[in-house]
């Protein structure tokens, strides 16, 4: 028997792929169904939408000609796109800022022990579990100028009848959307920040206390730096989610009065699923994706990775 023939390598060569190669193939086989599913459900529609964005695809026409970048050019000068982006921006900034402040406050409260904590916690996170459309319907009734509890409460506080038409004007309607979103999603921010605060090493607080740091200094110099990455992630999560605001616009104002409270998701929905201008709706959608990708990339590079560094 030849010595060379008996080496492990030569045995492998005669019996097929190496162990590592087999592992790789098995790995691919295992993920293949999921991969195909993702391709079928995500990538294919995405490519289809991209193709549509270069076509004039309107319901009233049987022909769908290729028009290059025309839809994109139209979208960039469409005042309703810019109006909707502005409204969306106001809601994102207002809602996320308030959710962060309130969520942080609650997290700081709940990171310590107090009586009734175990009872209060489930109550606090309840709104997150409610379907957004139900939240919209419920809060629409609350904001109702005549029968709603909000005006009633304000009337009791003011000692005279308060009749604010919350959903009849742009500014108050956007305010109503922000407050409603804050009610539902502050608990999410709270839970994420609470998890972050719970992970801060208690010895750091002890050291700070020994150095004479007060509550504010501990918060500023220990807690916030300790959870900065968590904050960054929580904010981007919420911002991306609020950017898609649709349910509240649908339930509160239908984008009105006029088009003054349209969010970008609402406008795209109108274009795509009410008027079936699929080509144009796809182009606007891709512009949003591009915009969000740039914002998210810069944000992650600046804050998430920055915090990591």
């Amino acid at each position: 028997m030849n010595v060379a023939e008996s080496t492990p390598g030569s045995v492998a060569a005669t019996r097929g792929p190496s162990f590592a190669a087999r592992r790789r193939i098995e790995g691919w086989l295992l993920v293949l169904p999921a991969l195909l599913l993702i391709v079928a459900l995500t990538i294919f529609p995405l490519i289809q939408a991209l193709i549509l964005s270069f076509q004039r695809w309107d319901l009233q026409s049987q022909e769908h000609p290729f028009i290059g970048l025309q839809n994109y050019r139209d979208a960039l000068v469409d005042p309703r796109v810019w109006g909707a982006m502005q409204n969306t921006g106001i809601i994102v900034v207002g809602a996320v800022a308030l959710e962060f402040l309130l969520g942080l406050g609650l997290a700081l409260l709940f990171v310590g022990d107090f009586k009734g904590k175990r009872f209060a916690m489930p109550l606090l996170i309840l709104p997150v579990m409610v379907a957004p459309i139900v939240v919209g319907l419920t809060w629409r009734m609350l904001w109702d100028n005549q029968y709603g509890a909000i005006n009633q409460t304000l009337s009791w506080i003011a000692g005279r009848e308060v009749n604010i038409i919350w959903l009849g004007h742009r500014d108050s309607a956007l305010f109503a959307m922000i407050v409603t979103d804050v009610w539902q999603w502050t608990p999410f921010m709270f839970l994420v920040l609470l998890a972050g605060l719970s992970g801060v090493n208690p010895e750091l607080y002890e050291a700070a206390a020994l150095d004479g740091a007060g509550w504010w200094q501990s918060l500023r110099d220990v807690s916030l730096p300790g959870i900065s990455r968590v904050i960054a992630v929580a904010i981007i999560f919420r911002a991306l989610d609020v950017f898609k605001v649709f349910d509240l616009v649908y339930m509160f104002t239908q984008g009105g009065p006029g088009t003054s409270t349209e969010s970008i998701s609402w406008y795209v929905y109108q274009l795509g699923f009410k008027f079936f201008r699929l080509g144009y709706a796809s182009a606007v959608s891709f512009l949003i994706v591009i915009f969000l990708t740039i914002v998210a990339t810069v944000y992650v590079a600046r804050f998430v990775r920055g915090a990591e560094a």
Partner: protein
């Protein structure tokens, strides 16, 4: 060898009479086939007839039998018989339907009844109204065949036809529907079923907007005296919008902030109808006839929008956000003296309802106190409504047609428009004249007469490609004005939106569509 159909002897006289009475080519052919059928059934007949009878195929004989059925039975029975004779008979039909209350009818009433009669199960698929259009178009684009029966307001007809979504129904109607049942449709709705020379839907919901008022308040002598003294005309159902606003202001003043003279639906998504009705009553036209340029900013547009905004001031505060339910709540609570136009269910629900499905409707305090009137200026709007159609992608087109013929037939549709929980409203002559319906409450006859009178002179929603976009543009224009926008500017923005839609769809093709729309009886009225 194919079995030959036979004819029931008890139908023979009718058959011969039918054969003699009809003169049209098609009917002569049917008659001849029927005569042949007599021979095939082996009954005695004159030798001359025997010798003259052509040799006909079983299909022709079946056609003769169907024609006979059209003459002797109503369309409901004809549909049931034909469905039972289908071979193969489908096990199930899928209906796309507006969900909520509308869905209760096929779920609880017509679906189970049809299954009992034919063995064909009905599967209603509910969609919220805003998704109804998208769901049907999307399924058609995907050619899924998900729906056999489609449902859509007449104003969508042009878009559905442009997409090739709706099956033409004329051949089915010819084959299966009793002619007198077609004639039983109110003329407006019968005409509304036509689009570009074809019928694509069977009309199924008479959504006439009429005015509701508090008869007890109007009949009160003290109110009458005070009102006439202040405004110089009698307190009665308003004939024009000036009278309407006077009455509204009068009762609002009396209400002292707790009740109001009137309310109309002013919320986004609902208000376009109120503008388009008054605008055309004032002589407004949506487009220039020659150029198809938008013409919303005409004097009629200025007057309409100005008056609507002014009128809001004597309606309940926040009326800009009030839709169907908000107005209903105030009306049922007795807080408003008039509803400045709304859909017919108000009339039925005002008299009280015990249906479980309506437990969300506020308890009525106005039963027996409601009067009805055609809208001010004489032409009420037919707003929305529904056609039932057959999807071109259906694998069961004939069965689907038979089901909708049965649903909309005089006998079945009468039951459906009287269902306490349903939202289908009268649309047949036999509905308006039904003794059963007219005896439902003290003033039910007035209610039905008003709905019929309103339909006699009704205005229609825009029926053109892009109708939904045009309506939305009007809606956005009005709500922008309600939020404080300048009247001239908002009308100009409405015009701009109209022109953009027209140009995008194609001005020339829209000109043709507009001519089709103008040919409908309720497009405009020349005074």
């Amino acid at each position: 060898m194919e079995a030959k159909p036979s004819i029931d002897p008890k139908h023979r006289d009718a058959l011969e009479q039918f054969a003699r009475a009809r003169a049209s080519r098609r009917q002569v052919l049917h008659g001849a086939a029927a005569l042949a059928a007599l021979g095939i059934s082996g009954r005695a007949r004159p030798a001359a007839a025997r010798s003259a009878a052509p040799s006909l195929t079983p299909a022709a004989i079946s056609a003769a039998q169907r024609a006979l059925r059209r003459q002797t039975a109503d369309s409901a029975q004809a549909a049931v018989d034909a469905a039972n004779a289908l071979d193969p008979k489908p096990a199930e039909l899928n209906l796309v339907w507006e969900d909520g209350l509308q869905l209760q009818d096929p779920t609880l009433f017509s679906g189970p009844m049809w299954e009992e009669l034919t063995g064909i199960r009905i599967n209603p698929i509910g969609k919220p109204f805003p998704e109804l259009f998208a769901a049907q178009v999307a399924e058609h684009l995907g050619q899924t065949g998900a729906y056999d029966v489609i449902t859509y307001p007449p104003s969508w007809t042009a878009d559905f036809v442009a997409q090739g979504l709706a099956e033409p129904l004329d051949a089915y109607i010819e084959q299966y529907m009793a002619p007198e049942d077609l004639e039983d449709y109110h003329p407006l709705y019968k005409e509304l079923m036509n689009y570009a020379g074809q019928r694509y839907g069977l009309f199924d919901d008479g959504d006439m907007i009429i005015l509701y008022y508090r008869r007890d308040l109007f009949d009160d002598p003290a109110n009458q005296e005070a009102f006439e003294a202040e405004y110089g005309h009698a307190l009665a159902a308003p004939k024009d919008w000036t009278e309407y606003d006077n009455i509204q202001a009068f009762f609002t003043e009396q209400g002292g902030g707790n009740s109001w003279g009137g309310a109309s639906q002013r919320a986004p998504g609902q208000v376009y109808g109120w503008f388009s009705e008054e605008f055309r009553n004032r002589g407004g036209r949506f487009f220039d006839d020659e150029t198809l340029d938008a013409a919303l900013d005409s004097q009629a547009g200025i007057d309409t929008l100005t008056r609507m905004i002014e009128s809001n001031k004597t309606m309940p505060p926040g009326i800009e956000t009030w839709g169907f339910v908000e107005v209903l709540t105030a009306w049922m609570a007795g807080q408003i003296a008039m509803v400045g136009g709304t859909w017919p269910p108000y009339g039925r629900w005002s008299e009280g309802t015990t249906a479980e499905q309506l437990n969300w409707v506020p308890e009525t305090t106005v039963a027996g106190k409601v009067g009805y009137s055609v809208m001010p200026m004489g032409h009420s709007l037919h707003n929305a409504g529904f056609h039932l159609g057959v999807s071109v992608d259906s694998q069961n087109k004939e069965a689907a047609y038979l089901f909708i013929q049965w649903m909309t037939s005089p006998s079945i549709s009468l039951q459906r428009v009287m269902l306490p929980y349903a939202l289908r409203d009268p649309y047949r002559i036999s509905h308006y004249e039904s003794e059963d319906y007219r005896s439902r409450w003290e003033y039910a006859g007035d209610y039905l007469d008003t709905l019929r009178a309103a339909a006699d002179t009704a205005l229609l929603d825009i029926v053109m490609p892009g109708s939904s976009e045009y309506h939305t543009a009007i809606d956005q224009m009005v709500t922008a004005a309600q939020a404080g926008g300048d009247i001239a500017e908002t009308l100009a923005s409405g015009n701009a939106a109209f022109n953009e839609i027209t140009d995008r769809i194609g001005r020339e093709s829209q000109k043709e569509a507009y001519e089709n729309f103008k040919a409908l009886p309720g497009a405009y009225y020349e005074e």
